[in-house]
Amino acid sequence: MENIGALAVLLAFCLAIYAIAGSVAGKLRRNLFLIVSAERAVYGVWFLVTVASAILVSALMTGDFRISYVAQHSNRAMPMVYKFTAWWGGQEGSLLFWSWLLSSYAAVVVFTNRHKHRDFMPYVVAILSAVQTFFLILNTFVVSPFQMLAVDKLITAVPDGNGLNPLLQYPAMAIHPPMLYLGYVGFVVPFAFAMGSLITRQPGDGWIHTTRRWTMVTWLFQSCGIVLGAGWAYHVLGWGGYWAWDPVENASLLPWLGGTAFLHSVMMQEKKGMMKVWNMVLVSATFFLCIFGTFLTRSGVVSSVHAFAQSPIGKFFVVFLALGIAATIYLILDRLHYLKSESQLESVVSRESSFLFNNLVLLASCFAVLWGTLFPVISEAVSGEKISLDKEWFNQLMIPIGLFLLFLTGVGPLFAWRRTSSDSLRRNFMWPGAGALLLVIALLAAGMRNFYALISFGFCLFVAITIALEFYKGSKSISAKSEMNLARAMLELTHRNTRRYGGYLVHMGIVLMFIGFTGGAFNITRVDDMKTGESVRIGSYQLTVNAVHEGENDNYMWQSAAIGVVKNGKSLGVMEPESRVYKASRQPTHEVAIRQRPNEDLYINFAGVNGDRATVQSYVFPLVSWIWIGALTLIFGTLVALVPSKVKREYARTQVVGITRKHVAVEK
């Protein structure tokens, strides 16, 4: 079977090349047959990659340990779910998974646009297929997942595999990589449409309307992926953090920041026909950051806890990135005149300016993260000295930028498009500003002295009030006009312009997340070696080790500590953190015990037994739950924004003989 898999990937590679050549030639020579045939090739590629993936997955499920990928990433004792997720658990498989997602996206794009955008679809197909070809080159010639284990040219099997890294045998981790990949891969679609539109010099911004949903869905996947990763780190890794500025984490943050900037600046183009060049640059930058992120994760350029092993694929990525970036820059420069702005700025104090700053800060943070990630490599190349950049360095760099961004989140909606007089500003700033100021004074009075925390809480309230006022004012106007109660009016308001009010909900999610981040300023940590019956105090909690248990099963050996928790004289029950050693990989893991409450988490990690003492790490993390609540709000807001608006206003088109469509539908 594995031969069929390998051949399917090879065939897919040939078809992808055919799709590039066919669609470009068909477009240039105006041959519709060739163009349609190239589109068929895209479906063909999807089918072939699906076949190859199915073969790999079934080999993983049935435990065909002759295939080296299967032997390395699964074993007999693993639960079925994780045998399936081993598809993306290692280098070769995950690249095949990438290819499969890309081909699925491409097939969906070709299918949904089979009657639309005929004049630039051939280029969209060509670009999608070019990216596909690159990944199929890797799948076929560089890191084939169908490599067999062999001794002296004789294929052999090992009795049992190494198994998936036990840290990854966790539900959130099963869906975290697919989410991230869906996000990574998805950005190729807006990019392909943008380039197709640029190559054929389309008037108007059809590519933006067509890919708006794609971009939002992709962004949603990326956000989910990042948050799942953070949640996994918090719940599984046992050091109590959710973000460590690890290169791989940064790699996922980079395209997210770029995509966020794009989602905002694209509004400038839709509303006013400005910043067309910039949007092209942003959508390309985001796409290349996705590829770059994949490169960072896989090439071993920057060492990281969860990077895949060193491998030769780095140079392929470098070549692909260099060619792609060069081609994109050439295209944009060559067609600058076509990207001319249609409008001017009427006033410096306007929504337009706030968008400019939003873009600046998002990109600056993107650059700062990129810089920090590559800095060890750069500084070693320049001065020969390796430099330590840890979380604290990143935090120092990023906190001011992050706070400024939070501030802009609140300020943006207060400015009106085109111009905002000081009168309007005063009107809009008064309540949020006063509320934030009061909060900061109250916190100071309550004895909080942490500068960043004060600023952050102040801004959080500022933004929250702004958003609440937007909803309140809008729904009040509707309820006055159409006589419904405020709650229904609010639903009505949101439904009328889902994109705007969904966007505000996303902002609210960000605010909640910032509350959670700020809580990190008040973390309490302690590590103790405790005898049975001994107790320690952390925050307002009293922890007592009641007993230590141990045991084993097929997959791992475990030890757990029963720790009684008392708060203010009231017993809160027993928490049982556990530490495990997996047999197949001999790797230790920790099942932490967490008591999650909105105000703070009590987080206990049992590090193991040291002589007759249990080593217990205990933490109190104030407000950390708000990060997850904020993330849920963000997801909800994005989903709201994806719902089509209730009012689809139709404007009469200019009549032309032979054109059947009579209206321009404007969807908010």
Binding site: W239, G241, S341, Q344, V348, L356, D390, A521, N523, H590
Partner: protein
């Protein structure tokens, strides 16, 4: 996480000002001193961190290394000598320099350049008072009036 740094600097300041031992309990001082040296030594457990920041619990490298640093400090050895002894044992690759100002300058200068770009953009496209599109100024007023009637009509029709 933010606090750990600010706490650290507060603690560091305390050390300088008060003159050590009396104010600090021994465990805290230990960890501050060990971390200061540990920051200059890469952790060899496979993580990207330093001995001071490696977050792994039973780290096979950073834990013994911390103990070694602590023991050497207690016997009065200077930081540089401790670092040198690690370099001698594990090779040059283990040394990690402090983040230099270069690391800070570049991101913030990128921010500054971004501000300049915005200033350029605003200057280029700022046309106060005039109608937005460049052609608009060339539109004769009577044509504008003609269209305005239609616009008003359309707007009324839409609402």
């Amino acid at each position: 996480m933010w606090l750990s740094r600010s706490k650290l600097s507060v603690v560091g300041l305390g050390l300088l000002v008060i003159g050590l031992a009396t104010a600090q309990n021994s465990a805290q001082r230990q960890s501050v001193d060990v971390r200061r040296v540990g920051h200059h030594l890469a952790c060899k457990c496979g993580c990207p961190d330093t001995v001071a920041t490696c977050a792994m619990l039973e780290c096979s490298f950073s834990n013994p290394a911390k103990q070694k640093i602590f023991d050497m400090e207690r016997s009065g050895v200077s930081d540089q000598v401790i670092i040198d002894s690690f370099i001698k044992e594990y090779g040059d690759g283990i040394y990690r320099a402090d983040p230099n100002s270069f690391g800070w300058i570049i991101p913030y200068s990128a921010l500054a350049i971004g501000v300049l770009v915005i200033v350029w953009f605003v200057r280029r496209y700022y046309k106060p008072g005039t109608a937005a599109a460049p052609e608009a100024s060339s539109l004769p007023p009577e044509a504008l009036d003609r269209y305005r009637d239609q616009i008003e009509q359309d707007m009324a029709h839409l609402d």
